[in-house]
């Protein structure tokens, strides 16, 4: 398989030579393997590939009368390429996830798949002349290959069967989680990465370097220099920001997006807009910490976005909005009070902290349910998800700790535990950066993909029914689940990482699908670690700014509406 990867890379190099910015992505490599589709229901003949006729589901969205044009693009004023409604539009009757395909990163020097995979359309694999929503979605997998951490490569898998389409290895990639965004709205997405010079680069889908920024988003001397030992100052300016995640937002709504990574904000060409002066250096050399992974949101609905680095928030103009007395954590936003403004829920080692739209700390850090000290120092190092899971019109927070998975109502006075499930740890600790999400599989409201150390429990929203129990492996590290329709069949899929030995880093990606391919149309995009469904169109372009509402979700995939043949989406 490694040989296949290398072959693919050689072909990729050739394609890079001929492809300029705006290319349609590389042609998949016939026979390039890497996936094992055994073990579950195989892709049925109803699964669409690329531009094939959308499947006729069992009565939900996703089916299409043959005479209607395919929904390949996002219409003006919308953010999704909505499928045609079939009739009648009935909810699916259940969900049973089975393995669809399995990718294993091979090679004696494979260290880890450190970040969750991303999903987007990266090439024109149906040959219609454009990269669009009729292509088979691609799964971007970042792999660290050697113990020196000098070799990071992205493998692009077909969502249909997990086969290796091509590899991306421009040299010098780092371990930060990339983002896939069509920055310049030319209908070809860019892959935004960091490199070992501490810069942001934009890559074409093929892996060609489109540009490299000049701003240093982490200190490369502090991270890479071995001898002489880098000064502590350099080390500290790398420690908290190198293993970051790239995020994109249009802070001023002027059509020119900003790139967020570490504690830096760059323009759409990688030039520095502003940067936190310390980049976390004040935290010194703690034994445990989490890297800063920024996101932006218009907290107060004034038309400009705030930048949220976790313990610190900034206004779009680079002025500091708040600084919390906590260690680095991750920000999540939600209209928890239904007033059309977004509050910031920060998860850090200390627990949960809530910040108002004006940047005032409302409460925290607190550790529900009982404020007990965490059993392990990283007990709260888990990103949350924000969604209205109980259907009360206000979003809840899905929060994992090392011992519990909880649904919390975020009140002005503190978190209220609506549901708390003990984790079946079986002697394992919940790994860092793992957590729960939700998706409306059945058209009846969000189901809770409640994470535990070895897999997922799929719960009927707030109901008592366990819809499914997914044991990913006998070992830990499934990581955060990613939900998307990766094979474009109108039925949502779930991606998880997996390790194949005790205490090993994950080296596998497993795709799960519903055994019956029941209609559960999910977006075909999960384009950055801090995924906000409403922030991006399905074609990876930034969506027009939407007013915050209680329907605003965070790290939760959206179920697609459908379009009646002559009507409005519903």
């Amino acid at each position: 398989m490694r040989a296949a990867i290398r072959s693919a890379h050689l072909l990729l190099v050739a394609s890079v030579i001929t492809c300029a910015a705006g290319d349609l992505g590389p042609t998949p490599i016939p026979g390039a393997g890497g996936a094992d589709g055994s073990g579950g229901a195989s892709s049925s003949s109803s699964s669409s590939t690329g531009g094939s006729t959308p499947p006729v589901g069992e009565g939900g969205a996703g089916g299409a009368p043959a005479e209607l044009p395919k929904s390949c693009t996002v219409r003006a004023g919308e953010i999704d390429a909505l499928p045609w409604c079939d009739e009648p539009s009935a909810p699916a009757d259940g969900i049973e996830l089975v393995k669809k395909w399995h990718y294993h990163a091979t090679g004696s020097d494979v260290i880890a798949i450190l970040n969750p995979p991303l999903v987007a359309n990266l090439n024109d694999d149906d040959g219609d002349g454009a990269i669009n929503l009729c292509d088979t979605p691609d799964v971007l997998v970042p792999i660290v290959y050697d113990g020196a951490l000098h070799h990071v490569q992205f493998v692009v898998l077909s969502g249909k069967d997990g086969s290796v389409q091509w590899t991306i290895d421009p040299g010098g990639l780092t371990i930060a989680s990339p983002a896939i965004v069509d920055l310049d709205s030319d209908d070809v997405p860019e892959i935004l990465v960091t490199n070992n010079a501490g810069h942001v680069m934009a890559l074409s889908p093929s892996g060609a370097v489109l540009w490299e920024g000049t701003a240093e988003v982490f200190d490369p001397v502090g991270w890479y220099q071995v001898d002489p030992t880098p000064p502590l100052e350099n080390t500290l300016r790398a420690r908290f920001v190198t293993f970051s995640a790239v995020s994109v937002a249009d802070l001023e709504g002027d059509g020119s997006p900003e790139i967020l990574v570490g504690m830096s904000v760059l323009d759409a060409h990688g030039n520095l807009r502003f940067q936190d002066p310390t980049q976390g250096a004040e935290f010194g050399l703690p034994t445990h910490f989490e890297a800063i992974r920024p996101v932006a949101a218009d907290l107060d609905s004034d038309g400009t976005m705030e930048v949220l680095f976790g313990h610190v928030g900034y206004r779009a103009d680079g002025s500091e909005l708040f600084r919390l007395p906590i260690t680095p954590g991750w920000s999540h936003v939600g209209d928890f009070f239904g007033d059309g403004r977004l509050s910031v829920l920060v998860v850090s080692a200390e627990g949960l902290t809530l910040v108002s739209p004006k940047g005032e700390r409302l409460w925290g850090p607190v550790r529900p349910p009982d404020d007990a000290p965490p059993s392990v120092p990283f007990g709260w190092a888990h990103p949350a998800a924000i969604v209205d899971i109980d259907g009360d019109g206000l979003p809840e927070a899905l929060v994992n700790t090392n011992e519990r998975r909880m649904v919390l109502r975020i009140d002005t006075s503190g978190p209220v535990v609506l549901r708390s499930e003990p984790l079946p740890l079986n002697g394992w600790n919940l790994t860092d950066r793992s957590g729960s999400t939700a998706f409306d599989f059945r058209g009846t409201g969000p189901d809770w993909l409640a994470y535990h150390a070895q897999g997922l429990t799929l719960l009927d929203g707030m109901g008592p029914t366990r819809l499914d129990e997914l044991m990913v492996a006998g070992f830990a590290y499934p990581g955060f689940p990613v939900v998307a329709d990766i094979d474009n069949d109108g039925s949502a899929d779930v991606l998880l990482r997996k390790s194949d030995c005790k205490n090993c880093w994950p080296t596998d990606i497993i795709a799960y699908e519903d055994v019956q391919h029941r209609p559960s149309p999910a977006r075909r995009l999960w384009n950055q670690w801090n995924y906000v469904a409403g922030a991006f169109r399905e074609d990876a372009k930034l969506a027009p700014a939407a007013k915050p509402s209680s329907k605003t979700t965070f790290r939760v995939q959206s179920r697609l509406a459908c379009r009646p043949p002559e009507g409005e989406p519903h």
């Binding site: 090679g107 004696s108 020097d109 260290i111 880890a112 450190l114 660290v144 050697d146 113990g147 020196a148 951490l149 371990i175 991270w223 071995v226 001898d227 002489p228 030992t229 502590l232 080390t235 790398a238 420690r239 190198t242 293993f243 050399l285 034994t287 445990h288 910490f289 890297a291 392990v376 120092p377 990283f378 190092a381 600790n429 919940l430 790994t431 860092d432 194949d500 030995c501 005790k502 205490n503 090993c504 880093w505």
Partner: protein, 205 residues
């Protein structure tokens, strides 16, 4: 990684019909650790251990009929330990820089008497701990007995220095503590060990 079959092992004279530690001596013979064994490969002095050599790990040595070994090189992978920095496992690579001694396959059980020189390299990617910035000074391991199941004498893996190639991105003291480095009591275990001249198992009679 080159496949094992492509590593040339030139067969030397097998010698006379009398008992011989090695019947099929040669150059560049590969000495392989058991893959996917549940037996810890390396135990640290503080009780932590590394298990699961998931790909082929070996050293290469020219081997004569008397079982004398001339070290050529080693190919070892990073192996997860049950020690953590925060929630992230620390992996260790035992990089051999010399192996000398004898291997005698003439009896009922394989019999070895090796002096192994190694350095330990550590990896924890989230914290920027790499094989380049986190390695110990060399140390010596003595291992004798039946390579199907034997354990070395206790040895000391030197503590990480805290600077240069032992700086570990500022985490050397954390790793020293996590794995008991600098303290005697570490052991290397050989379990279902095997050696090959090309694709053929080394044998004695």
């Amino acid at each position: 990684m080159a496949s094992i079959s492509t590593i040339a092992c030139v067969t030397l004279s097998a010698g006379s019909a009398q008992a011989s530690p090695i019947d099929n001596p040669g150059l560049n013979c590969t000495f392989r650790f058991e893959q996917n064994s549940s037996i810890p490969f390396l135990d640290f002095s503080n009780g932590k251990s590394a298990t699961n050599l998931s790909t082929v790990n070996y050293f290469t040595a020219d081997t004569d009929s008397a079982g004398n070994m001339g070290f050529v090189g080693s190919t070892m992978q990073a192996v997860p330990t049950d020690a953590f920095i925060g929630g992230n496992p620390i992996s260790v690579r035992l990089l051999f820089t010399d192996v000398s001694g004898t291997t005698d396959l003439s009896g009922a059980d394989p019999d070895i008497n090796w002096t192994m020189t190694a350095r330990a390299q550590f990896v924890e990617p989230v914290n920027g701990v790499t094989t380049l910035n986190c390695q110990t000074a060399t140390f010596t391991i003595y291992v004798t007995g039946n390579w199907d199941d034997t354990t070395s004498s206790a040895f000391t893996i030197p503590a990480l220095s805290g600077s240069g190639s032992g700086a570990c991105n500022g985490l050397s003291s954390v790793i020293n503590t996590a794995l008991g480095l600098g303290t005697n009591g570490a052991t290397l275990s050989l379990y279902k060990f095997a050696a090959y001249n090309g694709v053929n198992p080394l044998s004695g009679s």
